[in-house]
């Protein structure tokens, strides 16, 4: 693997999008950045710009209004990209799956690489999902050469 591809796996920058979550999973996602878990020591940076992100972390259910925004953010990210669905709502729609305005999990709109179960998902599980996702990204990069 080339130097650039290797470094891409070593330092994933991720973007967090709250797709109508109750904020439970958002708090757990942001907890990964606090001194207790501190993912920045692994080179993982939470960025505010989809054009800089390698990984999209999405929490919450999708509804017709935010589905457009979710798709837009996904399209703005450069390839290769990873999508991680966090929490029961992000995976399947959770307890809100039968609500009239809910489309379901985020895989109804964009392809998802890793699902993180839990209500809310634990920070350890979210970090594990990023590591699992990076193994998948490594596979994609190796295939692309």
């Amino acid at each position: 693997m080339s130097f650039l591809k290797k470094s891409q796996i070593k330092s994933p920058w991720l973007m967090h999008f709250d797709c109508g979550s109750c904020n439970g999973c958002d708090i757990e996602t942001l907890a990964c950045l606090t001194p207790v878990y501190d993912v920045e020591r692994f080179g993982i940076i939470n960025v505010g710009n989809p054009r800089h992100a390698d990984v999209l972390v999405v929490t919450g259910t999708v509804n017709p209004r935010n589905a457009v925004i979710l798709k837009n953010i996904y399209d703005q990210m450069p390839t290769p990209k990873l999508v991680i669905a966090v929490g029961a709502c992000g995976c399947t729609g959770g307890v809100f799956r039968d609500a009239p305005n809910v489309l379901g999990g985020i895989d109804k709109v964009i392809p998802v690489d890793v699902y993180v179960p839990g209500c809310p998902a634990k920070p350890e599980a979210i970090m594990d999902a990023v590591v699992t996702g990076l193994a998948k990204l490594k596979g994609i990069l190796e295939e692309s050469k």
Binding site: L4, G48, N49, R51, H52, P78
Partner: protein
Amino acid sequence: MASLASDVLLAAGGDVLMCFFIQAASACFVALGAFSGSSPYSKLGAQRELFQMLSYEPIFLVCVLCMAKASGGFDAYSMMNAGAQPLLYKMPLIIPGLVFVLLVKMRKSPFDIAASHHMHQEVVRGVYTDYAGRDFALLEIAHWADVVVILWVTSFLWATGPLQMLAVALVALFVVIVIDNISARLTWRHMVKVAAPLALILATANLLWLYLE
């Protein structure tokens, strides 16, 4: 490429003034690229980048002129072999200016006005907003090349040996990180009206003192 070229120029003992102009050109190109992007954040960041350049470039130029006057030549080798007495004794007043230039070039608080390391900024990533993928990765590398240039020029202040130069660079880096951690971001107005003129006046006073000596 321009940033790396200025590194190579310093390593080859080339003209420090030329090195200064090359790194200024590389900073211009980044702003130019950001202006041609479609994002308003990118354009705002580019405007602020120009304000930053307006502030730090004259100070950096005066610092280089001071070093050239004291060491008797513009090439990096003559500054590195300036004699037994380190240049620092002849130019204590350029220290605030060099720290200011370092803070701006390393995009550290209080002068991370055009682009910040973190996402929680009013202009997202400012001048870098519209860069993506491999181009953005190259820009990150170029940023570090720029930092090496400025630290290298700073290390001329105590160029009695390679280890001493490395120590000066590390001390400068440490000072910048301490200031970054204890200060909040200033506005560009404060930078252009207060911080930059003060540093420039001090550095110019040092230059005049060297000429009148």
